[in-house]
C-alpha cells in the first residue's frame, strides 16, 4: 500500500492554517469565554497573549543559537543553518517587540506607568536591541562565510541575555510578577478554562512561529538560488564575448 506523500509546501500551508485557527480560538476564548480574574478583572485577558509571545521570543533565540552553533562547528557547517538562524532571529525580534508592547499595555492600568526601568523590562529591551543588532550585522556586505561566522558569534553573545531576562525576577526585586507557568518548580498557578486557554495560546503561537520561520527560511533559500542563477546567467552572457576576444 502506498503512503501518500505530503509535500513540504502543503505541510507548511497546513501549519500556517492550523496556527491561524488556533490563534483565533485563543483570542475568542481569551476575550469572550474565560471569566475575569478576582484581582485583575478583565486585564487578565492580556495574559493569554503576553506569556505565549514572550515564550516564542525565547524559543526563537534558542533556535537561532542552536543553528549558529551548528554553523560554527566546521563538521556540521551548512548554509542552511545560517539561514535558519537568521530567519528565527527575525521572527524572534517581532515577538520580542510584541512582548514589550503587550507588557506595556498591561503595565499602564496595573502599575500606573507604560514603562519603568525594572530589571526584567530593561533586560527585555536590551534583548530586543541585541537581536536588532544581529539582523543589522547580517546586512553588512561581506563574503558569505565570513558573514555567517560573525553573525553566529554575535548570536551566541546575544543569547546570554535570555537567561538574564528569565531569571531577573528572581535575582532582583522587580515590579514584574514571577512566572505563573514557566517557573522553576513547574507549579502552574492557573487552573480550569483559564489554564487551557493559556496552554492553547502557547501552542498556537508556537505553531505560528514555526510557520513564519519556515517561510522566512524558504524565501532566503530561493533568494540565494536567484542570486546564483543570476550570476550564472550573467557569466553565460559574457562567455561568447570572451570567446571572440580570445
Amino acid at each position: 500500500m502506498s503512503v501518500p506523500r505530503l509535500s513540504s509546501r502543503r505541510l507548511r500551508s497546513a501549519l500556517g492554517v492550523s496556527a491561524l485557527l488556533l490563534v483565533g480560538l485563543t483570542f475568542w476564548l481569551g476575550l469572550f469565554v474565560t471569566p475575569p480574574a478576582e484581582v485583575m478583572g478583565n486585564l487578565v485577558r492580556l495574559l493569554y497573549v503576553h506569556p505565549p509571545v514572550a515564550w516564542v521570543a525565547y524559543l526563537a533565540y534558542g533556535v537561532t543559537t542552536a543553528a549558529s552553533l551548528l554553523y560554527l562547528w566546521k563538521r556540521t557547517r551548512r548554509r542552511a543553518f545560517d539561514l535558519i538562524a537568521a530567519a528565527s532571529a527575525e521572527v524572534g525580534v517581532i515577538f520580542t517587540g510584541l512582548t514589550l508592547a503587550t507588557g506595556s499595555i498591561w503595565g499602564r492600568p496595573t502599575w500606573g506607568v507604560w514603562w519603568t526601568w525594572d530589571a526584567l523590562l530593561t533586560a527585555t529591551a536590551v534583548l530586543f536591541l541585541l537581536y536588532l543588532g544581529y539582523l543589522a550585522l547580517r546586512m553588512v556586505p561581506m563574503p558569505e562565510e565570513r558573514r555567517g561566522v560573525r553573525s553566529a558569534v554575535a548570536a551566541l553573545i546575544a543569547f546570554v541575555d535570555v537567561p538574564i531576562v528569565h531569571e531577573s525576577v528572581y535575582w532582583w526585586n522587580t515590579l514584574h510578577q514571577k512566572p505563573s507557568v514557566l517557573n522553576p518548580s513547574l507549579n502552574v498557578e492557573v487552573h480550569g478554562i483559564m489554564a487551557w486557554t493559556l496552554l492553547l495560546g502557547f501552542v498556537a503561537f508556537t505553531l505560528g512561529y514555526a510557520w513564519m520561520t519556515w517561510t522566512r527560511y524558504e524565501i532566503s533559500k530561493r533568494r540565494l538560488l536567484l542570486e546564483e542563477a543570476g550570476l550564472a546567467a550573467s557569466i553565460d552572457d559574457r562567455m561568447p564575448a570572451a570567446e571572440v576576444v580570445r
Partner: protein, 44 residues
C-alpha cells in the same frame, strides 16, 4: 472591558498579520522571479 485589553489584542493581531502577509508577498515575488529566470534560460 477597559480598552487596554482590546488594544493589546489589536497590536498582536495587526503586527502578526502585517508580517505574515509580507512574508507571503515576498515568497510570491521571489518565486515569480525564479520562474522568469528559468523561462529566460529555456528561451535562450
Amino acid at each position: 472591558m477597559s480598552g487596554y485589553v482590546e488594544a493589546g489584542y489589536a497590536v498582536v493581531t495587526a503586527t502578526l498579520s502585517i508580517y505574515a502577509v509580507g512574508l507571503l508577498r515576498r515568497q510570491r515575488s521571489v518565486e515569480a522571479r525564479l520562474r522568469d529566470l528559468g523561462a529566460a534560460r529555456e528561451h535562450r
